[in-house]
Amino acid sequence: MSMLRIRFAGLALIAAVFTLAGCAAPADKQAMTVAKTVVVTKKHPYAVGVAVRGGSETTSTSSSNIADADLKAAIEASIRETQVFREVVQGRNGQYELAVNVIQLSKPSFGFSFTVDMEAGWTVTRVSDNQIVFRKAIASTYTASASDAFVGATRLRLAVEGAAKANIAQGLAAIGGVDL
C-alpha cells in the first residue's frame, strides 16, 4: 500500500469523524435552568403560566438551537427554584402569564471560542384584565472556550445553553424587581 493511499484514507476517515462529530444537539433544559442563587428581590404570591415562542428545533442540518418546549420547561423550573412566583400553572389558569419571545440567537460558525448572543422579549400580563404589567427586552451572551469542550458542536451547545441561562436569570431578576 503506497503512502499516498494511506494518507488519502486517513484524510477521508478524519473528515468523516469530524462531520459526524459535528452533529448538533439541542440545548438541554436542565442546563438552562437557573439556581436558587439568582437574586430575586420580590417573590410574587401569584400563580403564573409560561408561554414561549420564537425558538426552533435542532435538526440534522442545523446547529444547536433552543426548542420552545425546552426553554419553557427551563423557565418553569427556574421560577420554582427562585420562587419569583408562588406557583407555575399551565395555560392561562394563573393570575399572570409570562410570555417569552425569542428574537435572536446569534451563533458563530467557526472558532476556538464560541460566543452566542441571545435576545428575548419578556412580557408579563395580568390574566384578569389582560393588562401588560412588565415588558422588557433581555439581551444575554455567553462564551464557551476550547477548554469547556473539544468538539465544536458540544462547545456551541454549551454556549447556547449559557446564553439562555443568563437570559432566564436576567429576566426573572427583572420580574422580581417590580411590583405586580
Binding site: 484514507a9 473528515a15 468523516a16 462531520t19 459526524l20 420564537g54 442540518t61 422579549g121
Partner: protein, 146 residues
C-alpha cells in the same frame, strides 16, 4: 473491498452529509402578544453597522411599497411608530449569497421587540437579497389587516 473503494465510499458519505444541508428553507415570524402591528404606519429602518451592502435601503423600499411611511438611517428614531433592525448573514458557495435575514420591529422608546421574522435559504435554494427582504416583510405583516 479495496482501500481505494473504501476511501471513495467514505468521501462520498462525507459529501452526502455536507450537501444534505444545501437545500434548507425556513421562513418564520413571531409577534409579541401585546403588540398591535395594525397601528404601525411609520417605520424607520436602522442601518446595521456591519452591513456594507445597504440592505437597509432594500427594506425601506419594500416597506414603502407595502404602504408604510418608511425611512432609513444610521441611528434609531423616537418619532416613528417602530424602528426596524435587521441581521443579514452571508455565505460563499461559488459566489457570495445571503443565507439568512432576520428583521425585528421595535418599540421606539424602549427598544422592545414587537415582532420578528426570519428567512433562511441555503445555497441550492438561494434567493436574491430583494426576494429575501420581500419574504421576511411579507411574513412579518401577514396577519395585519390594513
Amino acid at each position: 473491498m479495496s482501500l481505494r473503494r473504501w476511501s471513495t465510499a467514505a468521501l462520498f458519505a462525507v459529501f452526502a452529509v455536507f450537501t444534505s444541508g444545501c437545500a434548507v428553507n425556513r421562513a418564520t415570524a413571531t409577534v409579541d402578544p401585546g403588540a398591535n402591528l395594525a397601528a404601525i404606519k411609520t417605520i424607520h429602518v436602522v442601518h446595521t453597522a456591519e452591513d456594507g451592502r445597504k440592505i437597509n435601503d432594500l427594506i425601506a423600499q419594500r416597506l414603502t411599497q407595502m404602504g408604510y411611511a418608511a425611512s432609513t438611517g444610521e441611528s434609531k428614531r423616537v418619532d416613528v411608530d417602530a424602528n426596524m433592525t435587521y441581521v443579514d448573514r452571508w455565505m460563499w458557495d461559488i459566489t457570495m449569497y445571503m443565507i439568512e435575514l432576520t428583521v425585528v420591529l421595535r418599540e421606539p422608546r424602549t427598544d422592545f421587540p414587537l415582532a420578528q421574522a426570519n428567512s433562511l435559504h441555503t445555497s441550492l435554494t438561494r434567493l436574491p437579497p430583494k426576494d429575501m427582504v420581500q419574504e421576511v416583510t411579507t411574513n412579518l405583516f401577514k396577519d395585519v389587516k390594513k
